[in-house]
Symmetry: C2
Subunit: 359 residues, 2 copies
């Protein structure tokens, strides 16, 4: 995965709707890596015309038309219902491989395990990358992250799908603007595609969640002073809390950024689980990090996309009053306060000589 991606994104029949989350995420955060989108429904328009952002990136109707845009990777940007490979995609994948495009996929079904596509890839000397396929030799995590000198920051949240990846990407931009050496560690398929590397922690066998997170941080810490780990799930989530805690104890962050959505009062699709106050959420994270390595929550990222301007600013004010922490919506307003809190924490950590301590 050491290619500079130039994605042609497959989003046929679903571009701009909910199931094209991966396509939209890549366009939002790294439009410079996207040369075109393949969608027969909106073909002929620009991405900007379909999504309201994304500029002049063209939407095309076929791989053949897309090849004029000089892609090197066909990225699967939509999730088929049921997670299986729709029959209608087979000619598209065939054409892509025959055009010598790599194929990158985050589907549950592994495209590289399909005999026809595996053979086509081999014959055309391109690679099929199924990012949900875990590497074969993951360790059980055992705190090896304590040896890295980089400052590790993890986003945690009150629920799934609330901005844990988006916050880290926005903060990364802000840290870069401030001249900081920073790396993003992607833990889910969209984060991995945006960054061109990473490890899908929820796709590994349960015993190795922590080991996957540990490996990811060890790799990212080689190249940066600050590592921003993409959080997953929530300690409150009935389905995914195990992934969340495994990620926390495997990545062993020095500090946390809490992601919330003020309008959300219960876990999505699990209305019986009420979301407690910011203070309670912070206390819960304090408690689970303390026995391994205490990680204070140093800022709050609020996803206010569904509020008016005044309500959004009110929610942020209330959050600051409750937590005494920097609170912002890093997409709507400014990731700066979070970036500044991270820099202050990092400098304080260096100053207090913890750089070479193992705790």
């Amino acid at each position: 995965m050491s290619i500079s991606p130039r994605y042609l994104i497959l989003a046929d029949g679903a571009f701009g709707v909910h199931t094209s989350k991966t396509a939209v995420g890549c366009i939002r955060f790294t439009p410079e890596q996207v040369v075109g989108v393949l969608d027969t429904v909106t073909a002929g328009q620009t991405v900007e015309q379909v999504l309201g952002f994304g500029g002049a990136i063209p939407v095309v109707a076929s791989v053949a038309a897309g090849m004029a845009l000089d892609p090197n990777i066909l990225l699967i940007g939509i999730a088929p219902t049921g997670g299986q490979l729709p029959e209608s995609w087979r000619p598209v994948l065939r054409a892509a491989l025959e055009s010598k495009l790599h194929v990158w996929s985050g589907l549950h079904v592994f495209i590289g395990d399909d005999p026809e596509f595996a053979e086509l890839a081999r014959r055309n000397n391109v690679e099929i990358l199924d990012v949900r396929k875990p590497p074969p030799e993951l360790p059980v995590s055992s705190g090896r992250v304590r040896d890295v000198s980089a400052t590790v920051i993890l986003t945690v949240g009150s629920d799934c799908n609330i901005g844990k990846m988006t916050t880290q990407l926005a903060v990364r931009t802000a840290l870069k603007e401030r001249g900081v050496s920073v790396a993003f560690a992607g833990t889910g398929q969209t984060g991995i595609f945006i960054d061109g590397k990473g490890l899908s922690v929820d796709a590994v066998v349960a015993d190795f969640i922590g080991g996957a997170a540990e490996q990811l941080v060890l790799d990212a810490a080689k190249t940066a002073d600050i590592v921003l780990v993409e959080g997953q799930g929530s300690l409150l989530h009935p389905g995914f809390s195990g992934v969340t805690l495994g990620l926390i104890h495997g990545s062993l962050p020095h500090a946390l950024v809490l992601c919330t959505q003020p309008s959300r009062t219960a876990i999505r699709n699990n209305e019986w689980v009420k979301i407690p106050s910011l203070k309670s959420l912070i206390a819960m994270h304090d408690l689970v990090t303390t026995p391994l390595r205490f990680a204070p929550t140093i800022a709050v990222a609020m996803n206010t996309f569904d509020l008016g301007d005044e309500a959004a600013r009110d929610a942020i004010e209330r959050g600051m009053a409750e937590t005494k922490l920097p609170v912002t919506d890093p997409v709507r307003f400014d990731p700066g306060p979070i970036a500044d809190a991270i820099i202050a924490f990092h400098e304080d950590r260096l100053a207090s000589g913890q750089r070479h301590a193992r705790n």
Copy 2:
């Protein structure tokens, strides 16, 4: 898996040593299900002579010799180094399948995926059961357990390998003696072999830990008033805490039994993680269960096997003083106090009319 097991246990070259944990567990808890052990080193002795318990169960040197004992299953009772299938086991497995024995295995490598053994099993009309192979269609957990009327009790612990399975099995016996309708839900390979059913929750893909636990409880609750779920790992464990929390939030216990070992002050193989006080452990579990369904800790099981009698009784006294809960070593002394605490909790739950409430 609806067979009454009559196990011939393969433990060749390792019977009675650490790597035969599965063999020893099955003999300790369900000796009536074990007709013989296959080990060329100790062949000719009884299990009692090798282990110090287990009675007259014979150790034999071959499958052929074992067939005289009328087994129906060859159970793999040892873990090979590296998790792979040793070449030297192949003739044994071949002989077992040709003798029309089912083969049950908890290895990481799946015996049923081996073409030779798969074909032999088919031809002899027997089944190869790889218990670490998760069922294909697990759901993401979503609180469906709230609909069952049975009282669900989960063991949690300060570390791995501290007595979470052993406690539930000892308590099950005590509950049966008290005339209670009780089911054990095994979540790891030994627990599954002992009970002849269950689901290895740490072997599923991370997204489905909770779903596996949920399924297990739904199944067990069909046949019993009290379901004893075998706990896994620890909320403190750097490698396995994700499995632990996923199991807690998937099985949604009504109450917890905390398992500890007084002599253990740090997580095994992770000495940097110190084990906090019983009170802190209980507070941590209170905190993570509260947002979903509060599960009080109602008893403490102490594993005192490495203490003298007086030290063991002292540790139990101190535990009772600290927690104000029933504390016992259910193996060395008596599981009764835990069983009684569970019955009292169950009756109180029924009396307070929570049976039909969803919380």
